[in-house]
């Protein structure tokens, strides 16, 4: 293999600090990248992956720390700057212009010109040559980009990066919207480019892919550098445990599920049979019983949120169905789900949860009012009572029902959305990352709340990136990996080691 000792990394980042108002996103992160290598950057939500990449590509400035490219210090001020020194990025959402031709997308801003006139023939010829020689892609470059699949568009984005003579290529979750064959096509090209001496930084949530393509792995957690290792020397389970932040031996001491306390009912409330959505989650079976807390465990992007959205009708399933014990109606929209007694606290509360411009009170009563229609209004006195009640029980701060929800902290916004659904007295409450960005005290409150809901007979589908939390509250855990439900662990079998092993797979 490659001899490590006499090689200098092409890119070396050391002691990188970056803060945003209220958040320290990077705390002294080190990172190095060698030419001719694929290097995976791993970490869960809030680990600092995307911040690190953005400092590298000039989107953010670095507060402190050094970036050396080929031994020279660089300080890119914009994506263009970064491109000029040889660092190019291809994002998950293809950042090209869909309406322009393939050739233009590769060369726009640098079109071959004579007397200021764009030479289309030359440009098309160059683009064809570039695509076929370096990416083995033989397509008509004079068609608009949007006539090709996302996979091809991504390759074209890579071609653009290469044509600007990239030394470092950053692939930010390129495989998220590709099918298996497309991923293989991409990997083949990555291997080819790597062998040509390109340094590739690869970000993905798919563990299998990491081990398939990467030579080296760097792990970040909470804005800190956790470790760097050759992929061959890092067992999957260790990777997962370091990402999640618990050493294996510590995990064994974590509290077990506290669920044994109350009686398990066999009363099935809803059953997903062969439910799936192409590109989001492969068909799965999952039963939720009355009063049961079902946890979904898995890494970011493993399909947890996608399952939640299918249950709530936020996304339409394209195969399989949900069977309710009490009725045979299908769920086509969130409205249908609500009328079945489902509530949903979404992961992205800013975009999908709160209505910024409305007050705490209005946000709380919104879903209840929506089921009552235009004219069966909740009178103002009742609204105030409701708001006061939930502000009290959930400890919403500031305790002012007329405060605009956009001026609340993230944790309090989360509680407002919780209040909205608790008010509906749902039979199944789906909580997608309910404790993210919330302080420790509030976290414990929410966990306690989940337990008490379950005692009262409400079923809960609980999603969290914090394994500890999922273990603590769930009576049963469904484990997801790479967009598949891979295992269900129940009762006495629930142990950190078990879950972790299922997450890691392989």
């Amino acid at each position: 293999m490659i001899n490590m000792i006499d090689r200098q990394p092409i890119l070396q980042m050391s002691g990188i600090y970056k803060s945003f108002p209220g958040v320290r996103a990077l705390k002294g992160v080190d990172f190095r990248l060698f030419a001719g290598e694929v290097h995976a950057l791993m970490g869960e939500n809030g680990a600092g992956k995307s911040t690190l990449i953005k400092t590298l590509t000039g989107v953010y400035s670095v507060d402190e720390g050094k970036v050396l490219l080929d031994g020279k210090a660089i300080r890119p001020q914009s994506p263009q700057d970064a491109q000029e020194v040889g660092i190019s990025t291809v994002y998950q959402e293809v950042n090209l212009c869909p309406n322009l031709t393939v050739a233009e997308n590769i060369y726009i801003g640098r079109e071959p010109r004579r007397f200021g006139i764009i030479q289309w023939k030359e440009m098309n010829k160059n683009a064809s040559a570039l695509l076929s020689e370096r990416l083995s892609l033989h397509i008509d470059v004079s068609l608009p980009l949007q006539s090709y699949s996302v996979a091809i568009q991504q390759l074209i984005a890579i071609a653009r990066a290469l044509s600007i003579s990239a030394k470092v290529l950053i692939l930010d979750e390129p495989t998220s919207s590709l099918d298996r064959n497309e991923v293989q096509q991409l990997f083949a090209i990555m291997r080819k480019l790597k062998n040509e001496g390109l340094a590739i930084l690869f970000v993905t949530h798919f563990l299998d892919q990491v081990y398939e393509i990467s030579d080296r792995i760097t792990i970040l957690r909470n804005g800190e550098f956790v470790g760097e290792s050759l992929a061959d020397n890092l067992p999957r389970i260790e990777l997962v445990s370091r990402m999640i932040g618990k050493e294996l031996n510590l995990l064994e001491e974590m509290p077990k599920s506290q669920h044994e306390e109350h009686a398990e009912s066999d009363d099935i409330w809803v059953e997903a049979s062969n439910l799936g959505r192409t590109g989001a989650i492969e068909p799965f079976n999952l039963v939720i019983r009355r009063g049961e807390v079902v946890g979904l465990a898995g890494l970011l992007g493993s399909g947890r949120t996608e399952i939640a959205r299918l249950f709530f009708g936020a996304d339409r399933a394209d195969q399989g169905k949900l069977k309710f014990a009490k009725s045979s109606e299908a769920i086509r929209s969130p409205r249908d789900a609500i009328s079945q007694g489902i509530g949903f606290c979404p992961e992205n509360r800013k975009i999908e949860g709160i209505i910024d411009d409305l007050s705490v009170r209005e946000n709380i009563i919104l879903a209840l009012q929506a089921t009552r229609g235009w004219f069966r209004t909740i009178n103002r006195k009742r609204q105030d009572e409701i708001a006061e009640q939930y502000i009290g029980t959930l400890n919403i701060n500031p305790p002012n029902p007329e405060h605009l929800v956009k001026n609340l902290s993230g944790g309090n916004q989360q509680k407002v959305i919780l209040a909205r659904w608790l008010l509906m007295q749902p039979e199944l409450l789906i909580l997608d990352e309910p404790t993210r960005g919330i302080d420790v005290g509030a976290k414990a409150e929410i966990q306690k709340l989940v337990m008490s809901l379950s005692k009262r007979g409400t079923s809960v589908l609980f999603i969290s990136s914090e394994l500890e939390e999922v273990l603590r509250v769930s009576g049963r855990i469904a484990v997801l990996r790479d967009r598949r439900l891979v295992k269900e662990i129940e009762g006495q079998d629930i142990s950190p080691h078990h879950v972790m092993q299922a997450i890691a797979g392989g």
């Binding site: 950042n95 869909p98 801003g109 764009i118």
Partner: protein
Amino acid sequence: MLNRKFIPILVTIGLFAVMLAAGSFRYTGFFSLQVVFNLLIDNAFLLVVAVGMTFVIISGGIDLSVGSMIALTTMISASLIQEHGMPPIVVIPIVLVIGCAFGWAMGAIIHYFKVQPFIVTLAGMFLARGLCYIISLNTITINNSTYTAIAQTKVTLPGGSFISINVIIALIVVLLAIFVAHYTRFGRNVYALGGSEQSALLMGLPVARTKIGVYVVSGFCSSLAGVIYTFYMLSGYGLHAVGVELDAIASVVIGGTLLTGGVGYIAGSFFGVMIYGVIQTIISFQGTLSSWWTKIVIGLLLFVFILLQRVLSARRSTVKS
């Protein structure tokens, strides 16, 4: 396989041909080269405005100020020539510069302060109309010899038909615009901007310059249209060209340009204006049909084209996903 991006413009050209054919079939004296040239003569100013509007709409914006800008240009020209005795050779550059400056100011506000183009150009529309009345509340008739000479010149073509100087100017503008849109970096950047502003920024394109530039082009085109309009009407008046912004937008859309930006052709807008002209001509030939049918038919065509674009783009996004 036919490229789907050409469907709207092919529909436009087909529609124009069908209308022309139908007119010739139905009305004697309709089919002559002169009728086609008259379309150009009467709509030369609209053609120029539509060219500017095409750039703006392709970039994802809109410019409501063009009609008022025409009026303001006729007013300033008339005032400078008649009341201040300035020669046309000085006046015309002045009004063109004013048009560009006006467009630049609107573009700068749109880009730097992120106010919707609709509202900024609305303010521009009010302002330009209002300024007309500050100059004068009444019509100022122009009797400058250069202007009347240009207005009356008929350029005879082989075959006996003729066009006006205005038509020549308009056609030059169209050809120049096609060149700019397809063979210069500015033109391609406009398309990129309309396709995705975020991407354009990440690809390192000069977004600010392009966005503001588009409104400068539109300002220039509308003031040039104003100059043409002055030749055509030989007067300056605050009520000139009322509603031309709508005619221009309609022509551009009928010409196959996507109102959401990113897709469109100058040549399409040319045929859009021609369709507009043919409708008017048919209605005048018919005699029993009244002029308001033009508006209804244009509205109908707008509806059909917007729906067509909607269907095409909907199909595109299902193909993608």
